[in-house]
């Protein structure tokens, strides 16, 4: 899976596309690990182009959140579609990955 990446210096926006599943998840997670290791621990995952997420995709987001928080940052998700919101809610992962309506909202205190 390809994903867009925009580095705004104080934060980085990652925008995966299509199916965010067991094929795509490790690529994004590896990139998150690299960014956090390089000191970029404020991350927004823009999900507006993701039409489907499975548990592997969720796993990458949860693990990415943990990694970012350890370095004093955070991972926030924005612009999630209905399916993504539904699985976040069912698994209660919306408690740590509160879905923001837009990337701008996700940035509110950064």
């Amino acid at each position: 899976m390809s994903f867009e990446e925009v580095d705004k210096d104080t934060y980085v926006v990652l925008a995966p596309e299509g199916k965010f599943n067991m094929v795509a998840a490790p690529t994004l997670k590896t990139r998150i690990d690299d960014l956090v290791a390089a000191g970029k621990a404020r991350l927004v995952v823009d999900l507006h182009k993701v039409d489907f997420i499975d548990s592997s995709g969720l796993g990458a987001l949860v693990a990415g959140t943990k990694v970012a928080r350890k370095q004093g940052g955070d991972l926030r998700v924005a612009a999630a579609g209905d399916q993504v919101r539904a699985v976040l809610k069912l698994t209660n992962l919306d408690r740590i990955l509160a879905p923001y309506a837009t990337v701008e909202e996700a940035l509110h205190d950064w």
């Binding site: 067991m22 548990s55 796993g59 949860v62 959140t65 943990k66 698994t91």
Partner: protein, 401 residues
């Protein structure tokens, strides 16, 4: 002479493994060599089993009438330009009579035991020879097929091990009818369920504990986490309440989940069959439901799944009435009703029948999910309380597929 390990394995595979798995290798061999016939022959102690073939009949022949039974004696390709010119084969039926085979080239294939169990062979009705590159190619095909055989066998074994980790009999407690079924999407998977009888640490007396977990991902790797989570929960459960048991399961397994970017949803319930009091913890699972004639309620909480992040898991309490049915499922079933609780409720209404056994309810729901093309592991547990009078006649074991 008793069959050796390779022959035993050949016998077993010939009887149990669907031939479609090997058909593509045989088709490839036939096409690559432009031969009219190709086959995978497994060599048992007294029979040769042609389990996959092109242009050649499948089935069994006496082992002494086969060429491949000689091929498996050596660890190299056997090539015979004209079978009529080889004393070992000149008189066998397939050479003397139809189809009057002339050319044979076969590569031995090892089984999981490391012994040769059969051969992938190409056959022709006219004498011919293979060039060095063709011999190399046949060897490569044999190696690929061998890998397929052993990997597939390993996967099948993992699936068997996982099924054997499910409860094998009804829990030893009165007043409960229970059934569960797990249908993995692949040979093995990340779903698991368990039940056991524990002593209530607070009030004494017997409680039925049920667990349903869903490790993210599918297949072999997910099954490793499923067995870890199951074992750790089993280890903690007898000594504490279920909230604490879940917290300790996190404490023990969290590192492993974190190291692998994984998590597991988990629903744990503990019920007193006499009073119907039902304590439960919902760790991000969300798919436990009590159904009755006119009511439908979810037993869910806000806790996170077991994984990289800590939470404060503790139990809630509900009550299962005697005319109610507790259904716990994995999202493999939820997915086929479009992740809609409305649709799910409608589906559960169809199985809410006091005369239908839990076994039947579970089978009906799992079969429904499979028929709808479920792509994930599907697990369903059904539990209800039964009157003491019926308790002696209504034990129900877990069945699995």
């Amino acid at each position: 002479m008793p069959p050796n390990t390779g022959q035993q394995e050949a016998n077993a595979i010939a009887k149990s493994v669907p031939a479609e798995r090997y058909d593509r290798f045989v088709r490839l061999a036939q096409a690559l060599f432009g031969a009219p016939m190709a086959a995978l022959n497994l060599i048992g102690n007294d029979k040769q089993f042609t389990v996959s073939s092109v242009g050649f009949p499948k089935g069994e022949i006496p082992v002494e009438d086969s060429v491949c039974h000689v091929t498996v004696l050596e660890d190299q390709i056997l090539e015979v330009r004209d079978l009529r010119e080889d004393n070992r084969f000149a008189a066998i039926p397939a050479v003397v009579d139809a189809p009057r085979l002339r050319f044979y080239a076969g590569v031995p294939v090892r089984g999981q035991s490391g012994q040769n169990i059969g051969a992938l062979c190409i056959l022709d009705l006219a004498p011919r020879t293979l060039g060095p590159q063709q011999r190399q190619l046949l060897g490569d095909l044999g190696a690929l097929l061998e890998y397929e055989l052993t990997v597939q066998k390993e996967m099948d074994l993992v699936g068997q091990v996982q099924q054997l980790m499910l409860p094998a009999s009804a829990p030893d407690i009165d007043g409960i009818e229970i059934a569960g079924r797990l249908h993995p999407a692949k040979e093995a998977g990340g779903d698991y369920f368990d039940w056991m009888v524990v002593d209530d640490p607070a009030n004494g007396g017997k409680r039925l504990q049920v667990v349903l977990g869903d490790v993210m991902g599918k297949g072999l790797s997910a099954s490793l986490f499923a067995s870890e989570a199951r074992a750790v929960m089993r280890g903690h459960a007898p000594f504490t309440d279920i909230g604490e048991a879940v917290a300790r399961t996190f404490a023990t397994t969290g590192r492993d989940f974190e190291a692998n970017d994984r998590f597991s949803t988990l629903w744990v319930g503990r019920m007193d069959p006499i009073t119907g009091t039902l304590d439960y913890v919902d760790a991000g699972h969300g798919l436990a439901i009590i159904v009755s004639k006119d009511r439908y309620r979810r037993l869910d909480q806000d806790y996170l799944p077991i994984g990289p992040l800590e939470d404060t898991w503790s139990m809630a309490s509900d009550f299962l009435a005697e005319d109610e049915l507790l259904i716990i499922m994995s999202d493999g079933l939820f997915d086929v009703v479009d992740d809609s609780f409305g649709e799910l409720e409608a589906r559960l209404r169809l199985v809410y029948d006091l005369k239908m056994s839990c076994r039947r309810i579970v089978d009906t729901l799992v079969t429904f999910a499979i028929s709808q093309g479920a792509t994930d592991d599907v697990t369903v547990l059904a539990i209800r309380r039964i009157a003491e009078l019926d308790a002696t006649t209504q034990g129900s074991a877990a069945g699995t597929t």
